[in-house]
């Protein structure tokens, strides 16, 4: 685990891009200075122009602070491109509208985008940068835990189709990522908890120390103690940076990042992306993966129990009502499937995971059934308590 210093800097080194992820408190105010330094004074000299892409809500919370960093240094003012919050705006039509606005504002190939917001905003802005004039640069300033530990680095950008999430996109790495942990203080608790499921995932697949920190320090992490959160973000980023650096295009190792995601995506699709947060769906998916690993004997009962207990400690996981068979059918649409072979990630003890290609439909169905049954129970309990006037 990385010791907490003022700011932690973690490098991503892939064949197509080399950049740093900086993690620290109060970074948003420093983005102007950092970016201008990266561009060798290009902003100050007026050679490059910066565009701030964000939602009205995030702009209200953090846009002024980011802008004041530019203002204090005498940098030219930012042009804002606003996107309404919400997954439904992560579409090609939004990208097109933003690109038209950029042309209108005179953006050229040297212009730089600043993506200020959560995962949806980051994916959308990265993709806009990927295709505007066949590719311009961007930096990420993720403001949610999920975006800080996962989606802001690795170069996966994209938008949704009606037919499914993230089905149109590009690999396009940021020039840098600035994860300001101060922004996490304004997150709704449910979003913080859901985001932490991705940190748990990072621990399970590659960092036993991170997992054990999340296991034993759940109270400090969940109350949002800045030091605890910074540790968790930095360690999670390091796991992702290492994996992405070793396998940029998901040829092999990178697939382990999908632990819990195959069923997680199916659960999200089956519930119309409305009922559960991404991290909650992934948590259910990880529980299913642990169940399968346990049945296969690739993990000990003791470790399986620790994993499940920790996932649940960062709950409660909201329920859903979907047939297990439907979930299995939906996994067939997963982008990671190639030519009819299903790849599935299983934990191999705490801190290690493996991709298996021989998972049977029966194994998947059995695990999906266990999860679907429990999730239905949670759902029904909630309905009953609601009906009787008790707050769930």
């Amino acid at each position: 685990m990385i010791p907490v210093t003022a700011n932690t800097v973690i490098g991503v080194r892939t064949p197509s891009a080399v950049y740093d992820v900086e993690i620290g408190k109060g970074l948003i105010n420093q983005v102007g200075a950092r970016l201008d330094a990266l561009l060798q004074g290009g902003l100050r000299a007026g050679k490059q122009r910066a565009f701030l892409v964000t939602s009205p809500e995030i702009d209200h919370l953090w846009g002024g602070l980011l802008e004041s960093g530019f203002h204090d240094l005498g940098l030219p003012s930012l042009t804002r491109l606003l996107v309404p919050a919400g997954e439904e705006h992560k579409r090609l039509a939004t990208v097109e509208r933003l690109a038209e606005e950029m042309v209108h504002h005179g953006a050229d190939r040297d212009s730089v985008l600043i993506a200020l917001g959560g995962g949806v905003l980051g994916d959308l802005t990265g993709f806009l940068a990927a295709i505007y004039m066949r590719g311009i640069r961007y930096v990420g300033v993720p403001t949610t835990l999920l975006a800080q530990v996962d989606s802001s680095l690795g170069g996966k950008t994209g938008v949704n189709l009606a037919a499914g999430k993230n089905l149109a996109g590009a690999f396009h790495h940021p020039l840098a990522v600035y994860a300001d942990t101060a922004t996490l203080a304004t997150l709704p608790p449910a979003e913080l908890r859901a985001g932490l499921q991705e940190a748990i995932k990072a621990g399970i697949i590659r960092d036993r120390t991170l997992f054990e920190f999340l296991e034993t320090e759940a109270d400090a992490v969940l109350t949002g103690t800045p030091e605890a959160l910074t540790r968790v973000v930095a360690a999670s980023v390091r796991v992702k940076a290492e994996v992405v650096s070793a396998d940029e295009r998901e040829g092999g190792l990178r697939m382990i990042l999908n632990l819990g995601h195959t069923l997680g995506h199916a659960i999200e699709a089956a519930t119309g992306y409305q009922q559960l947060l991404h991290g909650e769906a992934v948590a259910w998916g990880m529980i299913a993966a642990v169940t399968i690993a346990l049945r296969r004997g690739t993990i000990t009962t003791a470790e399986a129990e620790r994993i499940e207990r920790t996932i649940r400690a960062y709950g409660p996981l909201r329920g859903f009502t979907v047939e297990a068979a439907q979930l299995v059918a939906l996994t067939a649409r997963d982008k990671k499937n190639r030519s009819g072979t299903r790849s599935f990630v299983l934990p191999v003890g705490i801190g290690d995971a493996a991709v298996v290609k021989d998972l049977t439909d029966a194994e998947l169905l059995q695990a999906a059934q266990a999860v679907a049954t429990e999730a239905r129970g949670v759902s029904e309990a909630r309905r009953v308590s609601k009906a009787s006037g008790v707050t769930a």
Copy 2:
């Protein structure tokens, strides 16, 4: 110049892609066999699926022949994705519609697109391949001269915005290009002539022998003699392949491919992309570039005259009525401009060109005025002759 053999194969070798462009008569019928070989039997084995993207018109002319090549080998039948012909369909909305259809038909990351058609279809299909599930493979089967000599290779893909052409796109190279010169027989003569302007450009910037062939054999080329056309296509492809292989991302050398294009794009934009074919607009742009080079003394009068005479031999160039100042203003929007510097390509004798960065507005305006005046004259003469009942 490349000797004419049965088929000519020219390699493109860039840091991100290695592929061949094959040029010959009757190749369309061989696409199935070639593609299956490239995929190591993946089509035959049902591991990979092929989708044919084309327009109803091109499908009618050549789709059946391409398909029969698949059929004769017992390869699985192709799924068709149809796009109406025309620049107005080269938009993100079309890409989105096609991507949704692909999901519907079960296309996965191993699926392959076949782009059968002209430049618009090729740019659109290449971009669809670039962003579908963050990138799948495609092959080009260009059916116009312009697409065969220019747009089908080099990896530039994209669509138009309302604000301008090709402003959203990606670099995404094909797996291979099959240029069947038999398809050129069905081209309208004006399109053949306009496409040949790009071949003249290839000669001017890098292949004196090609230029001299076009200069002396204009009759054979313009009547569409298969041997002459195959020579011209092969030599032009070689020029582009060499330039792109040396400079994939337009850092330097690749810019010379833009000879005639800075003003050419401005003329197209000013006339709403309706009045002139791309090659005609480029021809006017090349005449302007020669004028500037002559004034600067970077080309001899004798060579400038040969260039201009040859360009006009592949005319007649249709006229237009636009103020020179408007053309100059429109060049400021050119994608190749970076941070306010204008790059402009000038011929340096026949077979050589250079990029200059110090072109003044006055020089550009003067050359634009000469071209605009002549083009207005052509336009007016045509109106007068039309009004008096004489066919222009």
